[in-house]
Symmetry: C2
Subunit: 573 residues, 2 copies
């Protein structure tokens, strides 16, 4: 067995590592580090944690992902939706700012790490597939709105409580008269600058005569620059004395070594949130990783990703961090900046470590409204109205899943919203497959094709009825076929043969097999023969393991045409 | 609109009613009445209720079913499994023999009636389809074992508590030394007689010179005859003074007019059991009804059956009864005895009413061990080991659902067992469809057929890969296809075209559509074109409502052969 990508991805890329790769990875790392500083502070605040926790969560997890991950460019760390879920999970159990709150965040990261690791080892990555696109889209849209509403209160200098959208909205309206004008001005100005920087900064810098590559890199530094400018003004004017809340003292030094809580009741209370955080983080991370890997004809391995994200979160848990996953924006930046290997992640971790060791005093005067503005701008791009429009056009069932998930997440909360959405989409799927399309078909004259008698001019016979089921047969739809057959038999006194065309049947489970036996038995008692045709290979293999085919009152035909030619040649004329 | 079977089934059969039909129905009614007397007493005892309640439950429900039901021969009344479920539901809430216990049984029947009626009006009959055959089979087998174990304690004259199989079994073993020999002798003797009567009575009577029809009718009266004989011996020897428990005084007279409890907390506690009883009763009843209707080329309408069973249970609730449904054995007897119309049910109800008014004193000396013996013999035929064997051979997933349902029902209880089985079979189905068979296919030389490259000698090309998915695409399996495509692309540097054969795809949901879009996007970025072929009509209709086909990097081909002929003609050589 070779040391291919199924062994250790690290060995694979470390072998071919050279000066060019190093230079690409270093450049990408510098850009991502600059982007990650305000993000990690902001997402820590969103999760209800002190700013240094965001930095801690951006060091060890990156190193561990570089060792275990199968994506070459995925950038892990704190992300918006997972931070919101962290705040929701702990919000009811402990008060923000307390030691207990932080310990729970550490515990949550640790548990989520264990769960992801276990899912990876047991190869349970497929479980994430039960989060449908409509549910994810609805969930992320609603989370983004929740996050934006929550940050609005910080920007406006208000102290509204609550994790539900409606609570937040009502609270904001009630306190509208108490808005802190200076905070609001700082926040709104930052939002405007950041939105402009996304589109306008690069062209402006290029027009000023800078090269396209440098302009791009500088434009990506716009968030950090605007934070620096706002911090500078705050320091000059000592705005904190006028009520502008600032980040304040951030402890300098290495991330601490921490352990999760050993209180069993806390583990019980955090188990469900940890599971949901794990699954959502995994889905987000894998879809980013797959999109970027495919652009270079590389691939990622979902079960390997589970292990890597598990290790990252365990890493976050033992170094004072909180739950992390692969982030969309920063991974795209890493990719665009030319990162070639996970070493870029290692360099980014070193960059953040340097900041943690040396630069935290520079963060003292950063206004909290500026961090909130960073979050608002980041999450607004997550609001996905396109999916609402496209699912409405494509499928009402999928549309209702999106709307239900958005509404429940906003009205009740992230956990119920997510689980409700998953449950609804499962039920809708089962409902759909439980009412399969069953067509009565007839022979298209002059051909060997059979088509729906309701839609085409076809030949039929009073002695023979042909049915086609457009779905695999399983317990939820087996009886529908029985009903249909009973109805056909009851209304056709001359009937002698019933042919079931199985071309669309990918699977027949034990319930459906019993139904077919019951149908055969009842038809036999009514003097009608039951025939099958166009059975697929795997279905046939399985049927041959039973006595069904040998007891069948009729025959099994390879093609429908052969069946009709043998049983009712008058149709052929 | 004519007065067809979709209007009122009663009008349909009442029109053609004549002397012959009357005579057939009357004969059948007498045989069923004789059979129903011991059964209704026994099942009332099984449900923990006084004997007359069993009689009450066999009057009004039969009349109401005759008015609303769509089966001509279904015989409703108390049945074993539903009686066990009734005992389990109420057992924890009230003490057997109390007025409160009886009121709860009445409430349960009333609630179950309302639920069935509602399901019928809302046309929710399809919900019962989610009870798979393996789950029903496992549940009924386990229930039969539970019932038999419970009756064994009555036969042995013991007083073991508990509704779980293990509790019962341990209790029986612990009290083995306290067995009441006379009760045990009566019970065992009755069991032997009843088992013999099933097979041996009819031939014996025929050998004694009786006609086959009369022999058959008399053989069916064997249970009643053995009860009468045992009661006679008990009276002669006054066995009740020696500790043999007897039925005792059964109140004479019309069924009482009763109302359900109006205590909201009782409704809450009984809601789930009532729902489970409704669904199990409905499934049992419909499958009996369908089997018998098909024999005469008649049919039953599931949603109409819901209304009829709902009315029957409401009827049971307001006349002092307990939950009822269509019973297998008595319906078959009714059918075999020649019942032509539901009037047979009306006559049976009158027969039971006569017994209730006049004959209850004759039941005084019936030993309880005899009734228990009747139940044991009836339920042992429900133990279904054939399904265990056949599902083992056919599908391990279905087999595990049977075993899980049996085990959970025995170890934890009927409600958890049933719901656990349903949940497990849903999860297994989703798991199965979430990992569809995806085959890479190639052209069979000299034909236009495409087959799995792993199983057949086929032509392929390094520039073109053809994939066939044997399952509808939906959220749970959409990413598997992405993974597969990524893997193919990563290992084939020369690839220019990817063709997806859609012949087995009956449906594509919004998640799968997004996956296809993501696949197309990634392939495009890797310089590969994505083509589709053999899309089914309804799937095509739906895809055309989106922009997917117009943005597709490749083409849509009617047949796979056309696709390959256009894209990689070298394969055709």
């Amino acid at each position: 067995m070779g040391l291919g990508p199924t062994r250790s991805p690290m060995i694979e890329w470390a072998r071919g590592y050279d000066r060019t790769t190093l230079s690409s990875d270093l450049t990408a790392a510098i850009i991502v580090t600059v982007m990650l500083i305000p993000q990690s502070l902001a997402y820590a605040a969103l999760a209800g944690l002190p700013p240094q926790v965001g930095l801690y969560a951006s060091i060890a997890p990156l190193l561990l992902y570089a060792v275990f991950g199968s994506s070459r460019v995925l950038a892990v760390g704190p992300v918006a939706v997972v931070s919101l879920m962290t705040a929701t999970a702990i919000g009811d159990l402990a008060r923000t700012g307390t030691e207990a709150y932080w310990t729970m965040a550490i515990t949550l990261a640790f548990m989520s790490g264990l769960m992801l690791l276990l899912m990876g080892v047991l190869r349970l990555g497929f479980l994430a597939n039960f989060l449908s696109h409509p549910v994810i889209s609805g969930f992320i849209t609603a989370s983004a709105l929740l996050i934006a509403a929550g940050q609005l209160k910080v920007i406006l200098g208000l102290t509204v409580e609550g994790h539900h959208f409606i609570e937040l909205a009502i609270g904001l309206l009630q306190q509208a008269s108490q808005v802190h004008p200076l905070s609001a001005a700082i926040g709104v100005a930052t939002i405007i600058i950041l939105i402009w920087a996304r589109r306008g900064a690069k062209p402006l810098l290029q027009r000023l005569g800078l090269g396209p590559k440098l302009s791009d890199a500088l434009a990506k530094a716009a968030p950090v620059a605007s934070i620096a400018v706002m911090a500078f003004f705050t320091w000059v004017n000592q705005w904190q004395d006028q009520g502008v809340r600032i980040v304040g003292a951030v402890p300098q030094g290495l991330p601490p070594f921490t352990l999760p809580s050993l209180d069993w009741s806390i583990w019980q209370q955090l188990a469900l949130p940890a599971l949901l955080i794990s699954v959502v983080g995994f889905v987000e991370s894998v879809s980013v990783g797959q999109t970027l890997a495919a652009k270079r004809r590389q691939r990622i391995m979902p079960n390997r990703e589970l292990v890597a994200l598990g290790a990252s979160n365990l890493g976050a848990g033992v170094t004072g961090g909180f739950p992390v996953t692969g982030g969309f924006a920063r991974s795209v930046v890493n990719f665009d900046a030319g990162a070639q290997t996970p070493a870029a992640g290692v360099f980014t971790a070193m960059g953040i470590l340097l900041v943690t060791l040396l630069l935290t005093p520079a963060l003292f005067y950063v206004p909290q409204a500026v961090l909130s503005a960073t979050i608002v701008v980041a999450v607004l791009s997550l609001v996905d109205l396109r999916t609402l429009r496209s699912t409405w056009a494509y499928s009402r069932a999928d549309f209702s899943a999106v709307v239900f998930t958005i509404f429940t997440t906003l009205a009740v909360g992230v956990e119920v919203g997510l689980m409700g959405g998953v449950l609804l989409s499962l039920l809708l799927h089962l409902y759909k497959t439980s009412r399969p399309h069953i067509a009565e078909v007839g022979l298209v004259p002059g051909t060997e094709y059979f088509r729906n008698v309701l839609r085409h001019q076809v030949h039929t016979s009073p002695y023979l009825t042909s049915l086609r089921v457009d779905e695999s047969l399983y317990f939820a739809n087996a009886r529908i076929l029985e009903d249909k057959v009973n109805a056909v038999v009851a209304e056709r006194p001359l009937l002698k043969h019933l042919v079931l065309q199985c071309s669309a049947i990918n699977n027949i489970d034990a319930s459906a097999l019993e139904s077919l036996e019951a149908i055969d038995q009842r038809l036999r008692e009514a003097g009608i023969k039951f025939h099958l045709c166009e059975i697929k290979g795997p279905v046939m293999d399985r049927l041959q393991r039973t006595g069904f085919l040998s007891h069948l009152s009729g025959e099994v035909y390879l093609t429908h045409y052969q069946a009709v030619a043998a049983l009712a040649p008058d149709i052929l004329d």
